[in-house]
């Protein structure tokens, strides 16, 4: 096994284990911390795939921003009620069955597609800097969506202020 494979499997195992801990922890704050760990290992997998910008977005927006929001929601609601409630409801057998069906589907899909859905061989050398490629695409070809994005952020800002002010 190469160094690349070893790091990938370590990161994948960490991501999966912490994802399982997210849903099994009784304390919501612990769940949130494990979600941070999951997102961090996914970010490192992105980094390994040479998607540097994705890794940076994952860390800055998801871990830095969204997780703060999650923690604030946890702090906003009454925690004692959540801790005492049963973590699973009666639908867990149905959910488990659905997950098994999904697993079978994915396995079949990957098994059947292993010949024709081959990934292109990895570029051996001189992959262009990922962030630069995204930047050029964004600012040269997709300039209108970029400006619309700022409008979208503006709408979100006004919406957040309005909703909070009504209370």
């Amino acid at each position: 096994m190469t160094f690349y494979e070893v790091t990938f499997y370590v990161l994948a195992v960490v991501a999966l284990l912490s994802a399982i801990l997210v849903i099994t922890c009784r304390n919501p704050v612990h769940s949130a911390i494990f979600l941070v760990l999951t997102l961090l290992s996914v970010a490192l997998i992105f980094l390994q795939l040479q998607a540097e910008f994705m890794a940076a977005v994952q860390i800055i927006v998801y871990i830095g921003g969204i997780m703060v929001l999650f923690l604030f929601v946890i702090m906003l609601v009454n925690l004692d009620v959540a801790v005492r409630q049963a973590p699973y409801n009666r639908q867990r057998w149905i959910a488990g069955f659905a997950a098994l069906v999904l697993l079978a589907e994915f396995t079949l899909f990957i098994y059947q597609g292993r010949d024709w859905a081959k990934l292109p061989p990895a570029a051996a050398e001189a992959v262009q800097p990922n962030t630069e490629l995204i930047g050029r695409a964004l600012f040269q070809n997709y300039i209108l969506p970029f400006e619309v994005a700022s409008l979208l952020l503006l709408v979100a800002m006004v919406g957040a202020v309005l909703m909070a002010k009504q209370r």
């Binding site: 702090m75 992959v127 800097p129 970029f146 700022s150 952020l153 957040a160 202020v161």
Partner: protein, 129 residues
């Protein structure tokens, strides 16, 4: 895999390991060599004063949540700025103008927040003057 690419991240890896190592070493050392002679008074939350009652976890004010939401919006804006900064040299004046439009629109939102008093922490009478 591109050896050059991975090796460019070795400094960050060293930084991570160093940070974890220092934090772990401090905790381990204080646990190992710190004297522990507990007495009931030492173990109480406050050496003098009333014992705390109830849980420390109180529901937060919505204001904090609003600040968190606004933080995420500006966080996303910062991501666009990172991409922009990388290719700024190639874009030149054109890049400056499109980013100005982008930032202007967000500045409108910022001024709106400011005028609405979202960023005021204290009650308003001190601000109104």
């Amino acid at each position: 895999m591109n050896q050059n690419y991975l090796s460019s991240y070795v400094p960050i890896l060293i930084y991570f390991l160093l940070a974890m190592g220092v934090a772990g070493a401090i905790m381990l050392l204080s646990w190992l060599i710190g004297p522990r002679k507990p007495t009931p008074t030492k173990l109480s939350p406050y050496e003098c004063g009333m014992l705390p009652t109830g849980d420390a976890r109180e529901p937060f004010s919505v204001k904090f949540y609003l600040v968190a939401i606004l933080f995420i919006l500006f966080d996303v804006e910062a991501m666009f700025l990172i991409v922009w900064a990388v290719v700024l040299r190639q874009l030149g004046m054109y890049g400056f103008i499109i980013m100005s439009i982008f930032l202007f629109l967000l500045m409108v939102g910022f001024v709106y927040e400011w005028k609405k008093g979202v960023l005021d922490w204290a009650p308003r009478q001190s601000r109104r003057g």
